[in-house]
């Protein structure tokens, strides 16, 4: 059961009954025991309850949407913000995370970091989406960590930056440049400090981390950055777009 959940991401009891071919009573007995032992974690209210591996974020739904071609996926309605207005409204809802124990100061910085990353999805991809416009925004809380998943099916950092900097050789350099240098694909507009701001916030505290993938480029920042990086390591580098995973430790 644990292997199945690991491979497929969060699963509902009804799906587990079907996959494992056991009775609902037996399944719930096993689920209870695995949850009590700390191996599994229950998320959501019935009938939408799903079981996940404890302490790990599940990127499966986002990955399915990110790599799909030419259409939406089942989960996309819940997490995809097709316009900036929808995104802004959902970003405001992150304020409710104070109930999870995140202090106002931490929440303030987290929201501004998420805002900068996700607004880039719209700023740099208008008119250049692979197929579907918008960005994926999802939060998960597991093992005293708050994970924020942001993705877009856009042109990617390299394609965006090489208009302003034709000398950029590849996707890895482009991603590094985006986080380290004050430069923007929207030149001649005077902008390009958003990702530097995000990097600085993440680097300031050992309780934060970030990893970002765009094509073959993969970069991480902060003490918890390597933890984020491992979840993005096996994304297909040939799929255009950008994926960012942020993590904040909850006290």
């Amino acid at each position: 059961m644990v292997r199945l959940i690991q491979e497929r991401g969060g699963l509902r009891p009804v799906e587990l009954v079907k996959e494992l071919g056991i009775s609902p009573q037996a399944l719930h007995r096993h689920l209870k025991s695995l949850t009590n032992s700390g191996a599994l974690e229950r998320r959501g209210r019935a009938p939408a309850t799903r079981y996940f591996i404890a302490g790990e974020p599940s990127l499966n739904a986002m990955r399915r949407w990110f790599t799909a071609s030419g259409g939406s996926t089942q989960e996309s309605k819940e997490f995809v913000c097709e316009t900036r207005d929808v995104f802004s409204a959902r970003l405001g809802r992150l304020g409710a995370l104070s109930k999870q124990g995140l202090e106002d100061g931490e929440l303030s910085l987290l929201i501004s970091a998420v805002g900068e990353v996700a607004n880039n999805c719209f700023d740099h991809n208008l008119g250049h989406w692979r197929d579907i416009p918008g960005c994926w925004l999802e939060t998960q809380i597991t093992g005293k960590r708050l994970w924020v998943l942001i993705a877009d099916r856009g042109q990617g950092v390299f394609q965006s930056l090489k208009r302003a900097l034709p000398s950029i050789p590849d996707e890895k350099t482009a991603l590094w440049t985006a986080f380290e240098k004050k430069v923007s694909g929207r030149a001649p507009e005077n902008r390009g400090n958003g990702l530097k701001f995000v990097r600085k916030i993440v680097d300031e505290s050992p309780a934060r981390g970030l990893a970002c993938r765009s094509g073959a480029g993969l970069i991480d920042y902060g003490t918890l950055g390597p933890e984020c990086r491992k979840y993005l390591a096996d994304f297909n580098p040939r799929v255009s777009g950008t994926v960012t995973l942020l993590v904040w430790r909850i006290p």
Binding site: R84, S88, S112
Partner: protein, 87 residues
């Protein structure tokens, strides 16, 4: 003259929203000649550098850099955004 930023929202994060807010401030707030314009962030949860950059650029261009003051209080996202913009 003090402008209560919370009137423009609790979470302020994008350039288009910042541009709109700046245009609204310039249209509706009429400071006396030489009067300082104080942006009060009391009651605002989060501000991003993109939003703040649009607002400050427009206000500074209209009234001059010295007249526009941010009362950041203890909001860390305002302090971090200011640092990012002015560094």
């Amino acid at each position: 003259m003090k402008i209560q930023i919370k009137r423009y929202g609790n979470v302020l994060n994008s350039r288009p929203a910042g541009r709109e807010a700046a245009l609204s401030m310039i249209a509706y707030q009429k400071p006396k000649p030489g009067e300082k314009i104080e942006l009060d962030f009391e009651g605002v949860l989060s501000v991003g550098p993109s939003w703040l950059d649009e607002v400050l650029s427009a206000l500074r261009a209209k009234y001059g850099k010295e007249r526009v003051i941010c009362l950041a209080r203890k909001n860390p996202s305002v302090l971090a955004s200011l640092e990012a913009i002015d560094s």
